[in-house]
Symmetry: C2
Subunit: 137 residues, 2 copies
Amino acid sequence: MSPDDALRTAGLRATRQRRSVLASLRQRPDAVTAQDLHAELRRAGEPVGLTTVYRTLTALADAGLLDVLPRDGEQAFRRCGDVHHHHLVCETCNRVEELSADEVERWVSDAAARHGFAVTGHRADIFGICAACRAGV
Amino acid sequence: MSPDDALRTAGLRATRQRRSVLASLRQRPDAVTAQDLHAELRRAGEPVGLTTVYRTLTALADAGLLDVLPRDGEQAFRRCGDVHHHHLVCETCNRVEELSADEVERWVSDAAARHGFAVTGHRADIFGICAACRAGV
DNA sequence: GTTGTTGCAAAGAATTTGCAACATA
DNA sequence: TATGTTGCAAATTCTTTGCAACAAC
């Protein structure tokens, strides 16, 4: 999905600021804070008001285009490709890898059905230490 | 695990305030905010300073006894029975049911091994609408 | 042109810290 | 008794809002 498509999906106009925010999010697989993203854009010479960063991230998260994670006292956002969230997270370098998982899909349907739930989404994260970090890189 | 054991595990002394916080957490399956927990304890006639609530929740989360979730702009905490987190969350009433799942355990090991990760933990959440909420209760 | 968006400054909340009195082991 | 804990008030963030200038459709 292109940045402009994403914005359309969220019912937002395509502005320079929002494109910058989306472009930055696309490049990073890990979660980022509004404060950090604001600082990063400023460093990159594409200044966007902190207020706008907050409003854009919140709007995208409301539209279901971003996941929200807690990150010591702050809210961190990360893009989520689709309705299914399967991640492998390194607790040392915070890098995130996407996973695909048929077993999980099946488990989700079965478990929800057993409990009488209508599924709207799911998330499966594995936390660990990646090979590079274990090697001390 | 008893409240006092939990505190010992976290390397904390057993005080009246911390026991109150833990007792309150035990009774609720859903996540709670430091602010809300503080108000609740005050209503229950077991006043604990807001500062202490924050410090206790943070310490327990650091010790791995609590999960931290984002809850619009605030951090919500919920107890997690063990290292495995499998929840069925109703997006309407926010009730949380615990799940067990062998399929998920297997998937976790396999996926991590394929990517060279050393697993430290995992989490699998299913979001949906529970039967009661769908019935309009 | 109409309506949505931006960003500043200010307000509002959440969370943390300093420190003296107090409780636990 | 030695050390960890509490809670108040103050200080620090993080996040939201009011509003006038500006940009997208």
